[in-house]
């Protein structure tokens, strides 16, 4: 079966195994071929692709227990975050950490140790994981938790599925009084102003900036910084207080076909960005429903088709705090000069995090996507050294293009992770196109 990541870039033929019971998993590990687990296919590149054996975890998707008093959910790894939200939100609970799409599996969230707009306050997804069950290279299932097995927990969260198959997880949810978010928008005319807005609002629960990566000169890094708080009952208009979780069902639209490649070009994107900034500039404070706030793109199913047949590639890096402004400035200069930009350029301040293999570190992260045409890919490859030279690193859930050399140069943790994989025999059993490309 032809599979690709969400970027639809460079699909490959994979043998797909679809277990319907956890007991089937151990059997897959006894063959000659290494395996990799795949969730809902939302990683952009190839971390969930393996020609010889890709294990689709989507049918291991039972919710096992939920305690509405404590907000602890136990579920199989194939359960979608979207289903978690629709089950628990009416009871006043919400995921502590959520990425920008709710169409991800819990197992995939753990493997990528995803982050959300509240990373600077709550950290990455691992902060909400109480324990998880992991089928290891020997076929045995072990319960992995920060208390009992801190090392393996640390390596598995963010370990891109390379330590084993995650079968079930217990996660702590967070209490909310409504399904609404109080959103405040700050217009930042340039990068410096955007960074200042983040630093001045470190206390905001959620913060993220949409950044115009085609703005140049004095406008370089022009952004809309969006802050958010879960709305309390008293924040809601009287009419909504009786049913605070009813935000109305959004119509899901679908991109009906692959757009021809020319639809997104520097002029259309530049025009869009300019319009978006000027429109957002006037907005100040408003109530937004949780779907529009956290998952604006989820309402357009298969939006990845707008990039046409060749697909697209994502780029997400993080710079250490001290080097962030310099690194970001250089990146943005390169991008705006090349005139290759995307709608989905996002800037975000991370809080402190030190872990075995997760992406976040304290500093600023920038995420962009580019149509997968040769010119854009050439630009991306010019961006890599800038990240390296400023002590930054890359997000593997987005990556499709790094080579092993650049990866090892940017991530000082790579040698330890690779050694661990070899010494524990995991390397022979769990492997993806990405892990082979990166030499881990």
């Amino acid at each position: 079966m032809k599979l690709s990541g969400w970027g639809r870039y460079s699909p490959v033929d994979c043998r797909v195994l679809t277990p319907r019971a956890e007991a089937e998993l151990a059997g897959y590990l006894q063959g000659e071929d290494p395996v990799i687990a795949r969730g809902n296919g939302r990683a952009y590149g190839d971390p969930a692709l393996n020609e010889a054996a890709t294990i689709s975890m989507r049918r291991l998707d039972r919710m096992i227990s939920f305690d509405p008093a404590t907000g602890v959910l136990v579920a199989q790894a194939g359960v979608l975050l979207a289903d978690v939200i629709s089950s628990v939100l009416p009871q006043g609970w919400f995921p502590l950490v959520t990425p920008g799409t709710r169409f991800v599996t819990l197992g995939g969230m753990a493997a990528s140790d995803v982050h959300g707009k509240n990373h600077h306050v709550h950290g990455s997804f691992r902060a909400s994981v109480l324990w998880l069950d992991l089928v290891e290279a020997d076929g045995q299932t072990r319960r992995v938790s920060p208390e009992a097995t801190p090392e393996l927990f640390d390596q598995t969260l963010g370990g891109m599925g390379l330590t084993g198959l995650i079968t079930r997880l217990a996660i702590q949810l967070t209490r909310v009084e409504s399904g609404w978010i109080r959103q405040e928008t700050i217009a930042a005319p340039n990068l410096k102003a955007a960074i200042n807005a983040f630093e001045d609002n470190a206390g905001a629960t959620y913060s993220v900036a949409w950044i115009d990566c085609l703005a140049r000169g004095a406008d370089l890094g022009r952004s809309l910084v969006m802050l958010g708080e879960h709305a309390c009952l008293e924040d809601l208009p009287r009419t909504r207080r009786r049913r605070p979780f009813a935000t109305g069902r959004k119509a899901l639209r679908k991109v009906p076909f692959l757009f021809p490649g020319f639809v997104l070009n520097r002029w259309t994107v530049r025009a869009f960005n300019r319009l978006y900034y000027w429109k957002g500039r006037k907005a100040t404070s408003e109530l937004v429903d949780w779907e529009s706030y956290f998952y604006p793109l989820d309402s357009i199913l298969e939006w990845n088709r707008i990039y046409g047949r060749r697909g697209f590639v994502q780029f997400q890096c993080v710079f250490p705090l001290a080097r962030s402004e310099a690194g970001l400035t250089q990146l943005l200069q390169q991008i705006s000069e090349a005139g290759e930009g995307s709608f989905l350029a996002v800037l975000k301040r991370f809080g402190p995090q030190e872990s075995a293999f997760s992406f976040p570190m304290e500093g600023y992260t920038l995420a962009l996507d580019f149509p997968a045409r040769p010119r854009s890919i050439a630009l991306l490859k010019r961006l890599f050294p800038i990240v390296r030279d400023h002590g930054g690193r890359f997000y593997l859930a987005k990556d499709a293009l790094l080579d092993a050399e650049m990866f090892f140069e940017t991530d000082g943790r790579a040698p330890d992770f690779a050694t661990m994989r070899t010494e524990t025999g995991r390397k022979d059993v769990f492997s993806s196109r990405q892990s082979r490309r990166l030499g881990i």
Partner: protein, 216 residues
């Protein structure tokens, strides 16, 4: 919600999952539809007569086995036609007496025309489709609605390992939503994905003289 299945091993997990997802109460019971003598007692033992019954019962043996083994062919005929038809017939009588209800039978596009590659299974599904059609005709004047579902390929355990064309293959969730919508709109017959309606229209309209020489 009431769940009945022959293989009860996974039923408790499904019950918990449904209760957590949808906040509904779920009861479970064991049912082997092939024990047709026990069907009536099964319905009487239900906590209450449901408003809607969805019958997703079936087997699909290897066609070659069905040609060579009477036992295999019998199993496919009984589990795809005889048993589900008898079961839904019993529900129909009770729904008619009550004056309302919805009956959903999951048949197959394979029942639209017998083909060399799976005609035993197809014949049983054809019988089931005809049964549902007759039932619908009979109950049209009462407030009992009968829906025939004709899925094409669905990515389930039954089709695992087969090399199915992606554009013609529905995910189980997709089929579920299609059925839900069709029940709400009181549709009579649905195909899922919809393209199968066109495909089967074409296949049905090929003259027999030509069709018998084709391999599709």
């Amino acid at each position: 919600m009431q769940l009945a299945a022959r293989n009860t091993a996974g039923l408790a997990d499904i019950k918990t999952d449904l209760e957590l997802r949808y906040g509904v109460q779920v009861t479970t019971c064991e049912l082997d539809v092939l024990q047709t003598g026990a069907l009536e007692a099964f319905i009487d033992s239900l906590p209450e007569l449901p408003i809607t019954v969805v019958c997703a019962v079936g087997t699909m043996n290897d066609q070659e086995d069905n040609e060579q083994s009477l036992e295999a062919a019998t199993l496919d005929m009984r589990s795809n036609f005889e048993a589900p038809a008898l079961l839904l017939g019993l529900f129909a009588n009770r729904f008619e007496a009550r004056g309302r209800g919805t009956i959903v039978g999951i048949s197959s596009v394979a029942g639209d025309r017998g083909r060399a590659s799976n005609y035993v299974y197809g014949a049983a599904k054809a019988g089931f489709s005809a049964f549902l059609s007759g039932l619908r005709n009979r109950l049209a004047s009462s407030d009992v609605h009968v829906l025939t579902v004709k899925p094409g390929f669905v990515a389930t355990k039954m089709t695992e390992g087969l090399d199915l064309p992606e554009k013609l293959t529905a995910q189980p969730e997709e089929l579920g939503e299609a059925i839900f919508t069709a029940v709400r709109k009181r549709r009579n017959v649905i195909y899922c994905r919809r393209i199968w309606w066109l495909i089967m229209l074409i296949i049905r309209s090929i003259p027999e003289g030509i069709f018998k020489k084709m391999s599709i």
